[in-house]
Symmetry: C2
Subunit: 321 residues, 2 copies
């Protein structure tokens, strides 16, 4: 959570003249997203999110992200919708940064999601996968096998600082995944970061998905495995098979998984656990003490990785085979 850039109100008013957004009533920097600066605007028409894209986001990726939200929204998914400027562009410039105005989605993320919520998330993920079909732009997943290797090369020599023996353990995971990563599964647009803070609920009803800034093209079932990791483990590290079952049933009620996707689930889940372990490990080793960012413990994902390593059948995730 962070606001990196302050905006002067006269600059913002000038920026808004390019949009048909109503009269500006207020704007507040909000503590949301770690990559960008976000502001909640009240206008005479509707609340809006203003996002200023900071350095960590590749400017060349922005048409993909903004176009994707438009495409998914048009496909019936509830997600933030970029407002076009009067000239049709989705992107403007504010305080020297690329900036977009995006519809505000009411709802709250669940700090303690239950199995029934996992079912809704599974459904929404499948809806997103279906709605993503036909989207013209492509973006490769920078955090797949190759990206993991790059991250690991930067962290490997210090991995044993976190836990003795980790260097050998992770190296053998990487070797396994390089050798057995599935190739011919259905692919498409994946969210790639559908953690609880990116899913809004109103009561028990899912009101929408946010934060598509990791979205990319990859195996759809890999996205399912990310959600299993993000939603279906308890704080004590135990896998909650009821949550897993609900998540997978919810998903399959919209888009049934193929046999080969189901068969690949343990490998994919091992991969996605490794992916979050590696980014957290890297941040853990490189973020200075006292920095503004909360460091997430990499060991949480090490425990998940070990769980997936010992899975003998996809049924253990809660699938009725």
């Amino acid at each position: 959570m962070a606001v990196y850039t302050d905006i002067a109100e006269d600059e913002l008013k000038w920026f808004l003249t390019e949009y048909d957004a109503g009269q500006l009533l207020s704007y507040k920097g909000i503590a949301e997203g770690v990559e960008n600066s976000n502001f909640l605007l009240h206008t005479s028409k509707a609340p809006l999110i203003l996002t200023l894209y900071e350095k960590r986001v590749e400017k060349s990726d922005l048409p993909f992200f903004l176009g994707l939200m438009q495409h998914l929204s048009a496909g019936g998914l509830s997600c933030p919708l970029p407002l076009p400027r009067k000239d049709g562009a989705l992107l403007g410039t504010l305080s020297g940064r690329p900036a977009a105005l995006i519809s505000f989605l009411e709802g709250m993320w669940l700090r303690k999601p239950e199995a029934k919520h996992c079912r809704e998330v599974g459904k929404a993920l499948a809806q997103m996968h279906v709605a993503g079909e036909g989207f013209a732009l492509k973006r490769p997943n920078a955090l797949s096998l190759k990206g993991w290797q790059t991250l690991w090369d930067k962290s490997e020599s210090r991995a044993d600082e976190v836990e003795p023996g980790l260097q050998n353990e992770i190296r053998s995971d990487l070797n396994f995944l390089q050798a057995s990563w599935p190739k011919d599964l259905p692919d498409g647009i994946i969210h790639a970061d559908l953690f609880p803070d990116n899913v809004f609920f109103l009561g028990d009803e899912l009101s929408g998905l946010i934060d598509f800034y990791f979205a990319c093209n990859d195996l759809l079932a890999y996205d399912v495995s990310i959600c299993l990791n993000a939603w279906c483990f308890e704080k004590d590290g135990a896998y909650n098979i009821t949550k897993g079952m609900q998540m997978l049933e919810g998903y399959q009620s919209v888009r049934p998984l193929r046999d080969e996707e189901i068969a690949a689930l343990p490998t994919l889940s091992r991969g996605s656990a490794l992916r979050f372990f590696l980014t957290r490990l890297y941040d853990w080793l490189t973020t200075p003490e006292g920095a503004m960012v909360t460091k997430k413990d990499p060991l949480e994902y090490l425990r998940k990785l070990r769980f997936h390593r010992q899975i003998s059948s996809p049924a253990e995730y809660g699938l009725s085979l």
Copy 2:
């Protein structure tokens, strides 16, 4: 700007059952205020501010602050209004902290205020002083003569790090102010921190005053001198007499200053410049590098202090005597 405390959505919903605030639709931590955690809530009724009071605020002061906002609002001032709970209390508890629900004020603060805005601020300040009459609670100003001495005692030995000779210079200011501080001027409730970021405008119209967490009982004309310091100097350090004139005329259109208040203005302004110099100096010397808080340059207020020191007549502030 900071959000110190995260709130779980189920805790917040539980907290809201004590209020008649409508259905919760969303809440966002906002980057506002450095002492407390603030959240902007959308409900089915109206937007609201939720404030969690962190350690730096004295819990025993909260009835003063919240009661004051209620009193000023009832007196016709546009300012945030605390919502009473169903049991009538203005204060509840959330995440282990005292917490209040307060009406949301639309408007934006001006990064580059003009003379016409200074006039509006002067008027609103006087309206606040008038509306403050009859408020039953008292709170002494902890940042007056005694408080300055305490701050100075902690910083004096290192003052020359900021600028050589500063130790003697500031010591003689303190001696002068201790000897000549006015005593028999009209007193009452003052805002004590009415900087541009605490005054909201919609277009050129002032929409309200916020942040009463420095409010206290003190000389009303001292509050005027704080506003002269906060609003009427340019970035290059020059006093803008047109802004000063507008500020003072605006103020006097609601509450005319007495002759003795006018005569005391140079001394009061010297005191308020010293007050902000001293807190900034202290923060400058004690805040660790890389902390989350932006350090404000104490030299800005040193320059203002030197300006007030050489004033020979209150007319130099833009008063027609």
